[in-house]
Subunit: 394 residues, 2 copies
C-alpha cells in the first residue's frame, strides 16, 4: 500500500453548529418547527454520525430530529450508541431495541415531536424531489397520524439549500477524492494489462483509489467502444477493449463522506480523426464552462456556454439533458447545468462541468471536471485533463 497521505482533520463542532444554524434559518423561512431526517446524506450532514452499516441494510432505521428551537436529538437503535457518541456532536439520544418491525422507533419520534416548541405546527420530512426516505413508507404513513396535530410536510428543500453551499472543509474532502482519482487515472495506462475486461479495469481503478486513500469507490463506470460509447449507464461489461477503441471511465470515489465525479477518456492506440475532433471540442467546451462558472451566473448559463462552444466547433446541439450538476455528499446534487435551471451560482457551490457530444445513434463522448465556485470565478478540484487524449498501448 502506498504510504497513506495524512487524513484531513475531522469536522469541527463549529462546522456542525453552523450547519444547524443555517438549516434553522431555512426552517423559519419554510415555516417548519423541525426537520426529521433518515438518510446518510442528510442525517450525516446535520449530526456528524458516521457508520457504514446503517446505509447498506434496511433492517434498522436511524433518525435525527433538528428542531427550529431546542436541542437536536438522535433516535437510533440501541446497538449504535457507541458509534453515535464517537462521531456525532449531538448528545441527546433516544434508543430502542432494533430490529423491531412492529415499531421501529416510531413512538420515540412521535414523543420527540410532541415535545417540540411549536410555532407553525409543521414538521419537515424527506419527501421531495431528488430525495429518498431512509425508512419504510408504511412507517411514515403511520407516523403521519401519530404526530398529529403536527402536520407532516416536505422538508427536503431545507436540506437541499443548506447542503448546496459547501464549507472549505467539505470542499477539501471533494478535492481529496478528486485528486486521488486523478492519480489513479494517471497510473492506469502503465498498469493496464492485455486481456483486461472493462470489469477488470473497474476493479483495478477501485482498488487503486482505495490504496491511494479513498474510503469508498462506489461509482467506477468503465465502458469502451469503437470511437465512442453508447451511454453512461451501460458498463462495465466483460468486453475487452481493443485497438481503435475509446474507453471512458467515470469515477466517483469518496473521501470521508464526500464524492468526486469526473471522467477521463483513453484511446487504445492512436485516436481516429473523428475522436480527436470530438475530444478537442469537448476540451474547449469545458474551458467555456469553466469560464462561465462564476457567482451571479446561472446553472443554465454554464450549460449555454458549453453548448455554444460545441456548436462553434461544428457539433450540433447535443441530446444530453444537462452539462453537469452539483455534487458533494451525493454524486449528483442540484443544481443541473441545463436549460431552465435558473439557480444563481454562489461561492461554495461545487459543480461538475460535463459537456457531451453525440457521434451518432447511441454513440457519445463526454468530458467532465469538478470545480468549486469562488468569490470571483471557480477553482478546479480535479487536475485539468490533458488536451491530448491519453493513449493505452495495445
Amino acid at each position: 500500500m502506498p504510504a497513506s497521505r495524512r487524513e484531513l482533520p475531522r469536522f469541527s463542532r463549529a462546522e456542525f453548529e453552523a450547519r444547524a444554524e443555517c438549516a434553522r434559518r431555512l426552517m423559519t423561512k419554510s415555516r417548519l418547527d423541525a426537520v426529521l431526517v433518515s438518510t446518510e446524506a442528510n442525517l450525516g450532514y446535520l449530526s456528524g454520525f458516521t457508520s457504514q452499516l446503517p446505509w447498506l441494510t434496511p433492517a434498522r432505521p436511524w433518525y435525527f430530529l433538528l428542531p427550529r428551537v431546542g436541542r437536536p436529538v438522535g433516535i437510533i437503535p440501541d446497538s449504535g450508541v457507541d458509534a453515535w457518541r464517537a462521531t456525532s456532536w449531538v448528545t441527546e439520544l433516544r434508543t430502542w431495541r432494533s430490529p423491531n418491525p412492529e415499531n421501529e422507533g416510531l413512538d420515540l419520534i412521535a414523543a420527540a415531536i410532541g415535545s417540540l416548541k411549536v410555532r407553525y405546527g409543521r414538521v419537515g420530512f424527506e419527501l421531495g424531489p431528488e430525495t429518498r426516505l431512509g425508512f419504510p413508507v408504511a412507517d411514515l404513513l403511520r407516523l403521519k397520524d401519530m404526530i398529529r396535530p403536527a402536520e407532516m410536510v416536505d422538508g427536503s428543500g431545507v436540506l437541499r439549500a443548506a447542503r448546496m453551499i459547501k464549507s472549505p472543509a467539505e470542499i477539501a474532502r471533494i478535492r481529496r477524492a478528486a485528486r486521488i482519482a486523478c492519480d489513479a487515472f494517471d497510473a492506469l495506462p502503465d498498469a493496464f494489462e492485455k486481456g483486461w475486461s472493462e470489469r477488470d479495469v473497474m476493479r483495478w481503478m477501485q482498488a487503486e483509489t482505495l490504496l491511494r486513500g479513498a474510503d469508498k469507490a462506489p461509482f467506477m463506470m468503465v465502458r469502451s467502444g469503437a470511437g465512442a460509447i453508447s451511454s453512461l449507464y451501460l458498463g462495465p461489461t466483460g468486453r475487452r477493449p481493443k485497438r481503435g477503441d475509446v474507453m471512458l471511465i467515470d469515477a466517483g470515489c469518496v473521501y470521508d463522506g464526500y464524492s468526486c465525479d469526473f471522467d477521463r477518456l483513453f484511446s487504445f492506440g492512436p485516436p481516429t480523426d473523428e475522436v480527436k475532433r470530438a475530444h478537442e471540442a469537448l476540451w474547449r467546451a469545458t474551458e467555456a464552462g469553466l469560464a462561465a462558472a462564476r457567482p451571479g451566473n446561472t446553472a443554465e448559463a454554464v450549460f449555454l456556454a458549453q453548448a455554444k462552444a460545441l456548436e462553434e466547433a461544428g457539433w450540433g446541439r447535443p441530446k444530453m439533458g444537462r452539462f453537469g450538476h452539483g455534487l458533494g455528499r451525493i454524486i449528483t446534487e442540484p443544481p443541473s447545468n441545463k436549460l431552465g435551471d435558473k439557480t444563481k451560482l454562489r461561492p461554495g457551490m461545487v459543480l461538475t462541468i460535463e459537456p457531451g457530444v453525440s457521434l451518432g445513434p447511441e454513440r457519445m463522448l463526454v468530458h467532465e471536471e469538478n470545480i468549486a465556485i469562488t468569490e470571483d470565478g471557480c477553482r478546479l478540484l480535479t487536475r485539468r485533463a490533458r488536451r491530448r487524449m491519453a493513449e493505452i498501448e495495445t
Copy 2:
C-alpha cells in the same frame, strides 16, 4: 492484479422467467394485479437490469412493473435504454427525458397501470418492513391519486418471499463473494504493515477483495480494541491496533449483485485467556448454529441452538437482538435468527450464523459464517474460520 478467475455465467432467461412466475403466484395469493418496484434489489431481481449509477444518485428514478397477467414493462429514463437492452430480459419499455422533477415518469406509470388486466384492483408498491422506496415519497403520493381506481397497497411481501429462496446461480454468486473475502482474510496477517490504522486496513481489505474479483466492497467494517470491540457500528476509525488488541473485520463484498456478510477476528500478539475463552465459545456456538440450520427448523431455533451453546460454555444470554439473518442482494435480509421469528427454513435460503458474546459494558466479540440451506441440512459458503484465532505480529 492477480489473474482474474473466470466470471460466472450470466443469469439465464429461464431464471428470470422462474422469478417472474414465482412473484406472480405470490401476487395472486396477495390479491395484487401487479407490483411496481424501484430499488436495485427488487428491480434488478425481477428485470435483470444492471447499472451502477441509478442506485447512487436520486436524480433519476427507474421503475419496473410486473403485472400478474400480461407483459412486464420497464419505465426508465431515455438515456438508459442501451443499458436496459443489454442487461434485461424484458423488451417492453416506456421512456422519458430525465431529470424532469415535475413529472419523473409518473404519467407513464399511471398509463401502464391503467392498461393492466384487472382482477383485484390493487397494485403493490415497496412500502413495507425492511424496504425502501426508490423514488420520492411526494411522487408516490401523487401517483396514488393518478392510478385510481387501482388501489396502492404494500407489495413488499411478494418480493421478500420471492427473494428468500435463492437459485443455485444466486447461491454461486454469494459463495464467490464469500470465497474472495476468505482469501483476502487469509492474506491479511502477512500484508499488515506496522502503523496501519483501522481505516487503512479497511482500504486494503476492500482493494484486496476487488483485485481478487469482487465487483464492489461496500461493507468493510474494521474495529479494534483491548480484548473486545464496542459494537458493529463504530469503525473504522483512525485507531492504530496495538499488541493485546483484538481486531474484528466484518466483510460484505459483492459479486454480480450478491453480497457475502461474515466476520473474522485477529489478535495482535497472543490472545488473552478471556479472549481465547470467548473465541472458543463463539466457535462452538457457530457449530451449534450450523447443526440447527436445516429444513423444517425455524430461524428462532437457529438462534436458540447458538444461545444454548453459549450458556453451556458459561456465557450468559447475550444482549444481541439476533444471531444471524438472511442475505443475498442485500447484506441483511429476512429472516432474523431471533426469538419470535418462526420462519421455517427451506432449501435455497441463505443465512448468516452470527453468535456474539458480551464481555462487559460496550465490550463484545462476534463470529459469523454464511450458509445455504440444503435438502437435509446446510452448506458453508464461507471457508469455516479456524478454531484458533488468527494472529498478527506486532
